[in-house]
C-alpha cells in the first residue's frame, strides 16, 4: 500500500479479523464491502478462508455464479442479482490497493479439497494454519 488514505496508519487493536466460511456471492460481497470500508478507514484487515469460501477463490471459478445464501429464497436471489455493483473479487482488489489487507487460505481446507496455492486467485497471499492466523488477531473475530 502507498497509504492513499491510507496515511492514517493502522494502530494496535484496529485489525478487522474475518473468517470466511460461506462461498455464496452474497456473503462474499458483504465480507468484501466490510473489508473495503475497514481498509478505507485505516484499519488492517486479516482474512482467513475456510471451506466453501476458499473454494470460491479458485482462480478458474472466482467469476462463476456461486449462488446466494439459503435464506434468500428465489425472490431474494433475484434482488441480489439485479442490484449489480462490483464483483466481490474486484472490491477485495481495491481494498488491497488502498490498505493493509492480508488474505490467508486455511491449510486444513486446502488439504480437504485438494487445493494447492497454484489453484488460487492471486488475491490470496498465502496458506497458513489457524494458530498463525491468530498471530495477527488483536480483537474479536467475525465469522461469515
Amino acid at each position: 500500500m502507498d497509504g492513499s488514505l491510507g496515511e492514517a496508519h493502522p494502530e494496535a487493536g484496529q485489525t478487522l479479523s474475518l473468517v470466511l466460511f460461506s462461498g455464496t456471492d452474497d456473503r462474499l460481497t458483504a465480507a468484501a464491502v466490510l473489508t473495503v470500508g475497514a481498509a478505507a478507514m485505516g484499519r488492517r484487515v486479516n482474512v482467513f478462508l475456510q471451506y466453501w469460501a476458499l473454494d470460491a477463490f479458485r482462480a478458474d471459478r472466482i467469476h462463476k455464479d456461486h449462488g446466494v445464501a439459503a435464506e434468500a429464497g428465489p425472490e431474494g436471489a433475484d434482488i441480489v442479482r439485479r442490484h449489480g455493483g462490483q464483483h466481490w473479487s474486484e472490491l477485495l482488489r481495491q481494498a488491497k490497493d488502498i490498505g493493509e489487507v492480508a488474505i490467508h487460505a486455511c491449510s486444513l481446507s486446502m488439504e480437504m479439497f485438494g487445493i494447492t496455492t497454484d489453484d488460487l486467485d492471486p488475491l490470496v497471499d498465502d496458506q497458513e494454519g489457524v494458530a498463525s492466523f491468530f498471530m495477527d488477531v488483536d480483537g474479536p473475530v467475525t465469522f461469515i
Binding site: 491510507g6 470500508g37 478505507a40 485505516g42 455493483g85 488502498i98
Partner: protein
Amino acid sequence: MPGVTHIDRSIDARGLPCPGPLMSLIGAIREGQVGDVIEILSSDQGTKTDLPAWIHKAGHELIEVEEADGFARFVVRKAR
C-alpha cells in the same frame, strides 16, 4: 457561497452503489495534487455518511455538501 469554488476535477458517481462513490473519491485524491478541489456527485445514501467520515479520517477538507434532487454533491480539498 455554494457553487463559486474552483473545481479541479469533477466525478459523477451517481448510480454507483456503496462503496463505489467512496472508492472513486479515494482514487481521485490519490491521483491529485495537494490543494486540488474535487467535486463528486452521488445518489447512494450510505455515501452521505461515508464520505464525510473518510474525509475526516484521511485528513482532507470537506468544503461543501449540497443536497439536490435524488443525489448529493460533495466538494473536497486534498489537504495533504
